[in-house]
Each structure stands twice: as structure tokens, then as C-alpha cells.
């Protein structure tokens, strides 16, 4: 399956999270999506969103977050 990449560079929170949440129903459980977000709050909000919604943040490097759909 193609890699799903969401480009939220330049967008302020909560927009990166909203874009990621909209994409989530479109991928299968076990598949991952990559979120690009450079808002300073994203570093805290992406992990918090994953925790609150039960998804898995498999990696986070600078502005690149990889989220695995687990439910």
C-alpha cells in the first residue's frame, strides 16, 4: 500500500492533529501514516493525541511523526 503522508508544515495546532484525525479512518489497522508538522506545540500534542485516541506513535524526529493505527 502507498505511504500516507500528511503535510501540515506551517499550520498551527490543532490543525495538524485535525488533518491526521481525518486521514485515520481511511487507512487500515496496522498501517501507518506520516505527519509533517513544525508547529512547536505538535511535539507535545501529537503524542497526547495518540495517547488519548489509542494510536501508537512509532517514531518522532523533528517535524516528522509516524503514527501506526492500532484500533
Amino acid at each position: 500500500m502507498d505511504e500516507v503522508i500528511i503535510n501540515a508544515i506551517g499550520l498551527r495546532c490543532p490543525m495538524p492533529i485535525i488533518l491526521a484525525a481525518k486521514q485515520l479512518p481511511k487507512i487500515a489497522v496496522g498501517q501507518s501514516l506520516t505527519l509533517l508538522a513544525d508547529d512547536p506545540a505538535a511535539a507535545f500534542d501529537v503524542p497526547a493525541w495518540c495517547r488519548m485516541t489509542g494510536q501508537e506513535l512509532t517514531s518522532s524526529q523533528g517535524s516528522t511523526f509516524v503514527i501506526k493505527k492500532t484500533s
Binding site: R12, C13, P14, M15, I17, I18, A21, K22, D39, P40, A41, A43, F44, D45, P47, A48, W49, R51, M52, T53
Partner: protein, 365 residues
Amino acid sequence: MSHEVGFDSDQPLHPKARQVLLAAFDAGWADPRRRSKDAAQARGLVQGAKESLAAGLGIRSDELFLVGEGSLAPVLALEGALASRSGTLVTSQVERAEILMIAASRPGSITISVDQAARIDLAELAGALESGAGVLSLQAANGEVGTRQPLVEASELATLRGVPLHIDLGLAAGRTKLPENWSYLSADAKSWAGPTGLGIYAIKTGARWRYPWATTQERHEVGSYSIPLALAAAAALEGWQEDERNESERIRSFIALIRQAAAAVPDVEVVGDPFDRLSNILTFSALYCDGESLVEEFAKEGFVVGSGSACTSDQLQPSHVLAAMGALTHGNVRIHLPHFVTDEQIQRFCNLIPIAIENVRKRLI
């Protein structure tokens, strides 16, 4: 629209303080350090104010000092403690910005982490105190999320290692039982509905402390401060503590209602310790909302609330407290209930929470 209801941390001057303030400007104008009869009267007034403030805070009046700016009290208390000894500063990630800036400016300082409820990690604290610590500075409770810090346990750890403890009382001032072995305290009269512009700090008898700023003589206080404000602060503390005794249970039950209303909305997380906390504060974060729009939604219905989201601050940075807790920083709302809030206001506010969140989400999603 109805009259504005203040659910943020700002509160008007206590009515008892207002009475005192007017009378005090007539009686307390002289410089108490001079030798005139008026100066003697001013000295008496300061002494009276200090005794009253000390009684309210549960300390001795000769341990208490005043400074004419609330936010300088923690800085003075801590800088003076650090100036009197060698060793590093140990503090936590969720302290006020001034304390964190002192830590950042001193090489070797340790800022210990907090758990999801914003409570300091005691095991990490014990370790940090082993490595050449000079002073431990901790808040009594977090003003943003309400969580109380384990002061008794922290002070025991510090005492065991001979490290003096500075307690930044913040919003917990006047409603906190002090652990026996504190060395320095700081508070702002604003936190008990006192006037703006009066900081209070304390140095325990026997604790070392050195005036940290340029001076030609040994001193404990910066210089002059407004005697009327000191009297007003003392009257406010007395009045506020009486209100607190009468109101705290009612406020606690109101906070429980608001907590329920917020937690019932999907994708909303109430943050902070649910039990060991300041009884009038509640903070929650709503996914897919920005804090600024939420604050505006509440303002439209006449409620003034606070927020720790980045979009409501001057910088692009969200609240360092929410970040340290691992809590969601966007869609954040912070409520401080005042004494004498009414059932009707609480009911209206509870009903508004799901509507406000839905309105913002409808626009963004």
C-alpha cells in the same frame, strides 16, 4: 447579555481590604525608617500588618518581609538563599517562569520531571539532592492545573540531605499547611484577593540568606513599599481565609460538577490530580479545538476563563506545565472559581461546555 463572570485567576480586591486601604492612606504615609512621630505610627502599622500576615500564613512575624511587587517575592527569596551558599539549584519542570529562568542561568541546576498529574517525581528528587544541591525550590501547588506537590515528603528528603527548601506558595497561599522544615517562602497578596503590587517572602529563623542585589549595607528588604498596600493585604488575607472556610466545600462540589460536564464531552481530557489539589481550579483540554476560540465562546456567554494553549500566549510556545505533564496543549481551558459563585452560574457554565466545544469543532473540522 448578563454581567461578566470571572472564572480566571484574576480576582477583585476583597471588600475588607478596600475599607482598610482608604483609611491607611491617611495614617500610613510616613517613612517608617525615620524618627518622627508619624514615622513611629507608620512603623506600628507595618508591624501590625506583618503580624497579621504572619498569623494568616502560619509563620512568625519577624521571619516575614515585604517587597513592592508580587512576582519579585519568589525571586528574592530564592536568589538570597542561593547567594548565601554554594551548590546547585534543584527545582521542577512545572515552576513559574521566573524560577525556571534562575535555574537556566545557573550551570548544574536540575529541573526534575513530573508525572501526568504534574506531581514531582520523588525518586528523581532524592537522586537530584545527592549531587551537590544547594537549595530546593518547589511550588506548593501548580497554579495552572491545581495539583498540590508532596511538600512533606519533599521536605523530609531535603532535610535528610541538609538542603534547605524554598516553597513558592503561589495560589496555595493562605490555604496550605506548611511542612515543619521549610527555610524560605514566597507569596503574592493577589492570590488571596489582596492588592496588586505586594510580594511577601519569609526567611525562617536560623536559615542562611544574603541580600542578592547591589547594596551598601546588610538588608533583608529592597527598600520602601506601600504601607497602605501592606495593611490592605493583611485585611484581605483575614477576610479571604474566612470566606475560604465558609465556601471551600461548596466550591469543591461545583468543581466536581464542572469536571463531570467536561469529561462527558468526547475527546476531552481533564488534567491535574483529581483529589490532592487546590479546590477551586479545574483545567481541561479538548481535542480538535484551539484554546483561543474556546475562550471566545465562553466570553460570548459572559464567562472569563483562562487557557494554556500556545495561541493564547504571546509566544508560539504552549504552557510548559501542560507540556511537562504530556497533556494536550491545544484546546485548553482553565477555570478558577471565585468565592460566592452561584448555583445558577455553575449550571449555566456546565451547560455551555459541550456547546462551546462543539461550536469550535464545527468550524475547524
